[in-house]
Symmetry: C2
Subunit: 382 residues, 2 copies
């Protein structure tokens, strides 16, 4: 097979449809993806990145809407942790997303109208099944590694559970094997904020030429608080005022943290689709990997030959170390090859997106070791 082209959209499902967990079949759907580096002749050096809730496939290049650097540009590139001189890195937009892969904002070919809420509700496993079909299409039978943080980490766990023979190494980061009540609660607040916006129009806003910007911004603001630690917020903003010497005795953004949050909300709506937000948060809430295995998480990994590296961050209160440790216990129970690192950081859940040297070091060390076992060439210069 030939070298996969970068920046591609592929139509999948026409030979074998994607059967979703909800029962619906998708027999013609698009997956958009980006790639970095080159697939080797043995097709053995591919790393799949699974992006998080509001991420996308623009990992290491400017975002086409915002113009900002890719969300993992610090990690992916020549000589970086995910070294594109050595590895072929693929990142598809997830099922239900809004950057080219099929999702509620795309046109339903059966009606010629946007799917909106007629789009089937999807699961994390469905996202992974679609990614597996993309890997089939790219001729990649066995991934050197699958990695991702947050909801991306859930996809990594599903990959290891659904396709153990296709995953040489798995690096789930700052994630959990199920959503807790508090996780669901925060997502529900976001969904209710979107649905409360009259511009949402029961999900049919595209037909009305509207977009529920205000509701989506509120959802983003609420979620954003959960991505940061209390300490990081306090150190970064504390009670500092925004461009003023005293409070305004009004409802302006007097405090820097208010201004920051409003900015997070207002910029988010330019690049994200409200219905996608509903669908992806729902998939995360439905995620409970053990459920399919009689409630025993270890059974999801029985007999696995995949090498795991789990990482959590001390100040992450969204998917805290405890949740990551449950995954480690399950892997230990089936004698899997697993290493676990709790990274000391004050940056909360978002640590996996930031310049965290220890995180990068552990990640790179694990990949180097796995690459050696895989028989991939060493880093140039080593």
């Amino acid at each position: 097979m030939s070298q996969p082209l970068p920046g591609y959209r592929v139509r999948l499902g026409h030979e074998t449809p994607l059967r979703l967990d909800c029962g619906v079949e998708l027999s013609d759907f698009t997956v958009a993806y980006q790639t970095y580096g080159r697939l080797n002749a043995a097709r053995s050096n591919a790393i799949l990145i699974c992006h998080a809730l509001t991420g996308d496939q623009y990992v290491a290049e400017p975002h086409p809407v915002t113009g900002k650097e890719g969300w993992w540009h610090m990690m992916v590139g020549p000589g970086k942790v995910l070294d594109t001189d050595r590895y072929f890195v693929v990142c598809p937009n997830i099922l239900g997303g809004c950057m080219g892969t099929i999702g509620p904002k795309e046109i339903n070919p059966a009606t010629g109208k946007p799917w909106g809420l007629t789009f089937p509700v999807i699961s994390i496993a469905d996202m992974v099944r679609a990614q597996a079909m993309l890997m089939d299409h790219l001729g990649i039978d066995n991934l050197f590694a699958v990695t991702g943080g947050s909801i991306g980490g859930m996809q990594v766990l599903e990959w290891a559970a659904l396709y153990p023979a296709r995953v040489f190494a798995a690096v789930p980061i700052a994630t959990a094997a199920h959503h807790t009540a508090q996780n669901i609660a925060f997502h529900e607040v976001g969904r209710q904020a979107i649905m409360a916006d009259p511009d949402w129009h029961g999900g049919d806003y595209q037909a009305h030429g509207a977009r529920p910007h205000r509701g989506l911004a509120v959802a983003r603001m609420a979620a954003h608080i959960t991505y940061l630690s209390e300490k990081a917020l306090q150190e970064k903003f504390g009670r500092k005022l925004q461009n003023r010497a005293a409070v305004s005795w009004g409802f302006d953004a007097d405090f820097q943290v208010e201004s920051y949050l409003r900015h997070q909300g207002s910029t988010f709506v330019d690049r994200f689709d409200a219905n996608s937000y509903l669908y992806i948060t729902r998939a995360a809430d439905y995620f409970d990997l053990a459920e399919r295995y009689g409630g025993v998480l270890a059974h999801a990994f029985r007999g696995t030959a995949t090498r795991f590296c789990l990482m959590s961050f001390t100040s992450d209160w969204l998917y805290p170390t405890e949740e990551n440790r449950k995954i480690m216990h399950a892997l230990n129970a089936v004698a899997a090859n697993v290493s676990f690192a709790e990274i000391v950081s004050d940056n909360g859940h978002d640590s996996f997106l930031l310049d965290e040297p220890e995180f990068h070091r552990v990640f790179e060390g694990f990949l180097d070791g796995a690459a050696e076992h895989r028989g991939l060439p060493r880093k140039s210069g080593q």
Copy 2:
């Protein structure tokens, strides 16, 4: 002076106006309050309860709107911790509230229209000044105790700082001497949710015959998560489904925690005013007791003769023990009479509203000791 009548509304400010921190003067305003028990002849057995953000004066009797038991009925009554056989308990609706005290939903006599956003922005200290005027009116020079949880606790701290000679004992519960960046952030999400609702009409919804129910419900839902601990949510709800055997593959409230949160939101809007929510959250965000004292919290309490009992709850992540401990350190620095108890509880911030035997025991023991020092009679039967 005579025995104060219960269930009263008084008009205050006509002799000496209330000068607010923002500079505005209120020269004719109503304060609504409830009382329980009888003021003794020496007028020395009064306990002032300062209510929290969404509380009100209906402490120990059915709420006139919801019909539910008073929010502190467990604490206040004959033989209870705040024993109405011994103490005269007063609870006024706070300034900016919506249960009879002046606030944005009341009529501005100057215009004949609801204040709405023309109501002056208030501070925690303003609430306390209005309460002090009520105490003047009731002929209570010196309060046996001032108590309250959460934003009520902030008022207790302000009482001790502004009127040390009028406060014999102070019991601030589950509170903080300032709002942190994360506290402000959660409040700002709530405000943005309200203001994003088109039915808010720039605060002028009464004139439009509308009420921003949807925005206020979202605000309540987001805030409610912060009142509960992650553990309590998990133990109470976990991933349990609501009246169904399997998920709906839709956006209904599949999970009990979703149903619970939606209920919290939808019932709240029946009894609370959206603009009051804006004003009171703003007062809390502006609260930074040390600021007035050169940034040194201890200076707020210099020379105090008040006896303090501070209580926090281990699982409270909204106003965690650490914030309460800062208050204790400040009081220690001025050699105040202070005791501090961190109560072990999984119930999060809301612990102060719940049946927490250790909390009740500590509170009662402190009041008994203070009453003895005050020369009040012992509990009947003792």
